[in-house]
């Protein structure tokens, strides 16, 4: 998974500035290599004289489009890691038409003019001066444009409109759109070669190995997109969705529970890595708690239990089961695979493990009765009391603190 500067909210850090500078360096280098430091070459596309702009631009768009679609579909980068420019139709239609007019009048666009200026083309410098003035003019006319309804009324960000979703493609599946776009681009390349040849002298890449190889490679990549899951469904959803299904399955099969008897046995046996957590308020914890339990409030659980993440056994309990169950689910979502909750809570523990044999409505088999006596001695005796303390001889100070132990029924 890639974390981008934008995704990490660090697009305004010095490191991002350096990265942008280096990417710009590559951008400018490639533009100059392609011949975009020349306005005559750039304007050529509008007179069918030199279709280089079409070749370079559409090859670049298709290459990046397929690359991005693969990056999204394979989960390499999540869609929320990339900034998607807002879609503001009116502004982009008017802006696009005007931009095309400005482009053909000047023979430049901003990126190529930066390269042209580097090549000491004074018309590129004049163009860049014009664009700064145009931006100032836009700022001055902003209110009027809003009143005309070309610019949306609410303007809150650094750009017009609200960020949009990536890979919208007019509601088409991204793979289908990319395939159609690739097909149109390949057809346009061949048409451009043909047109150039007819208008005069150009079209020298028609039938060339490079164009053939590129056409085949792009077509294969575009078709391969259909094998991969939908780019927008692929990234975060499957992993998280699977975890939720597993979680719900664990709940259904009661794998998230630990029975009071088992907890009691494990505690009496000792020796294992077992963390018992009492999530009740401190006052209730002070009144009575399962021997050895820690008192941790719900919000503190993830941090306090971090040392025990997937080590040993974590058992959560409260009086009932609601809060521990919710807390266990939260911990499971955080990646704890060893968190359990105590079935029937502390009330169940007292009822099933600590209730004196003599007070039970049904008589217990002798072995179970012996167990209850052991548990009572362990959990109700003071911490140093031997496990084999005689039944029913728990210190009165502790049993006095036991709420509702005798009066439950």
């Amino acid at each position: 998974m890639i974390e981008t500067f934008f995704g990490a909210d660090q697009l305004d850090t010095p490191r991002a500035m350096l990265a942008a500078l280096l990417i710009g360096l590559a951008f400018g280098f490639v533009l100059e290599r392609a011949g975009f430091g020349s306005s005559r070459k750039l304007a050529g596309i509008f007179y069918f004289r030199d279709m280089t702009v079409l070749r370079v631009m559409f090859t670049a768009v298709v290459t990046a489009m397929l690359g991005l679609a693969f990056a999204f579909a394979s989960g390499w980068v999540a869609p929320d890691q990339v900034y998607a420019l807002p879609t503001v139709y009116k502004a982009q239609i008017v802006g696009g038409l005007l931009f095309g007019i400005g482009f053909v009048i000047s023979g430049w666009c901003p990126g190529t003019a930066a390269v042209g200026a580097a090549c000491a083309k004074w018309d590129a410098v004049a163009f860049l001066l014009g664009t700064t003035l145009g931006a100032v003019a836009f700022n001055e006319l902003f209110d009027i444009l809003q009143r005309l309804g070309i610019v949306p009324g609410a303007h809150t960000g650094e750009v017009i409109g609200e960020p949009s979703e990536p890979l919208v493609a007019f509601g088409m599946s991204p793979a289908l759109f990319a395939l159609l776009f690739t097909a149109v681009a390949i057809a346009a390349f061949h048409a451009a070669e043909w047109v150039e040849k007819r208008v005069g002298g150009g079209g020298k890449y028609l039938g060339s190995p490079v164009l053939k190889a590129l056409s085949i490679a792009l077509a294969i990549c575009a078709a391969a997109l259909f094998i991969l899951p939908d780019p927008l469904d692929a990234p975060a959803a499957p992993a998280a969705g699977l975890a939720h299904v597993e979680l719900l399955h664990a709940i259904e099969t009661a794998q998230d529970h630990l029975e009071p008897e088992e907890l009691a046995d494990r505690l009496v046996a000792g020796g294992q890595e077992l963390v018992v957590v009492d999530v009740r308020p401190p006052a209730e914890y002070a009144a009575f708690h399962i021997r050895g339990a820690l008192n941790i409030s719900l919000p503190d659980l993830p941090e306090a239990l971090e040392p025990y993440r997937n080590r040993g056994l974590i058992v959560l309990y409260s009086n009932g089961m609601t809060h521990p169950a919710q807390a266990r689910d939260a911990l499971a979502r955080l990646g704890f695979t060893n968190a359990y909750l105590l079935t029937d809570g502390l009330q169940g523990f007292i009822e099933r493990c600590l209730k004196p044999v003599s007070l039970r409505s049904e008589p217990l088999p002798p072995d179970e009765a012996a167990k209850v006596r052991t548990w009572r001695a362990f959990f109700l005796g003071n911490e140093s009391a031997p496990a084999a303390a005689p039944a029913g001889k728990a210190p009165s100070s502790t049993s006095d603190n036991l709420p509702a132990l005798v009066t439950t029924q």
Binding site: L11, A19, Y47, Q92, L97, T131, V210
Partner: protein, 179 residues
């Protein structure tokens, strides 16, 4: 690096356009995967314009509806990743041009067309393009290339409109290229 002779403007001197396109596409992809944002150029010159206006009338820029958003937070208008990218584009172009011995100062135009009117057309076209790229939130780099690769509806519409506008106006300014 091919040494260019005077008057040689043929495509032979330049890199294969399809290979250039693939490299440009990979640069754009790298921008998305590293920065998390596409390429951009017009924001660089627009911020330069805002910066100059701020030097002349700081209070006016601070309270203006569009540029005002760029001065919030107290940072310099020029401290923005696309300004650095713009500087990078200039330097990258310079590096490539030096390596290819393609730096030849002059005003590019048809032989039958004067330098002064050509500069005026470039300035005027720049004014329109600068205004339009603010209106559309980007230019050929930010919208057509970057937004198009992300399959953004608005960017794809923008791309189509650029060609419609360009072809519609091409006839009127054809003379500047007549030899």
């Amino acid at each position: 690096m091919s040494q260019l002779t005077e008057g040689d403007r043929g495509p032979a001197a330049y890199a294969n356009p399809y290979l250039s396109g693939v490299l440009l596409g990979l640069t754009l992809l790298a921008s998305y995967l590293i920065l998390g944002a596409g390429l951009g150029a017009s924001a660089g010159t627009a911020r330069l314009g805002a910066f100059v206006e701020q030097c002349l009338a700081p209070a006016h820029v601070a309270e203006s509806a569009y540029f005002g958003r760029w001065v919030e937070g107290g940072r310099s208008i020029l401290y923005y990743y696309l300004v650095f990218m713009f500087v990078g584009v200039f330097l990258g172009g310079l590096l490539s041009a030096v390596l290819a011995s393609r730096i030849r100062p002059g005003v590019e135009r048809g032989r039958a067309f004067g330098a002064a009117p050509r500069l005026l057309l470039a300035l005027g076209g720049g004014l329109i393009a600068g205004f339009a790229s603010r209106l559309a939130n980007g230019c050929t780099s930010g919208q057509a290339l970057s937004g198009g690769a992300m399959l953004l509806n608005g960017s794809l519409v923008f791309m189509a409109c650029v060609f419609v506008g360009g072809y519609a106006a091409a006839w009127f300014v054809r003379r500047q290229w007549h030899d």
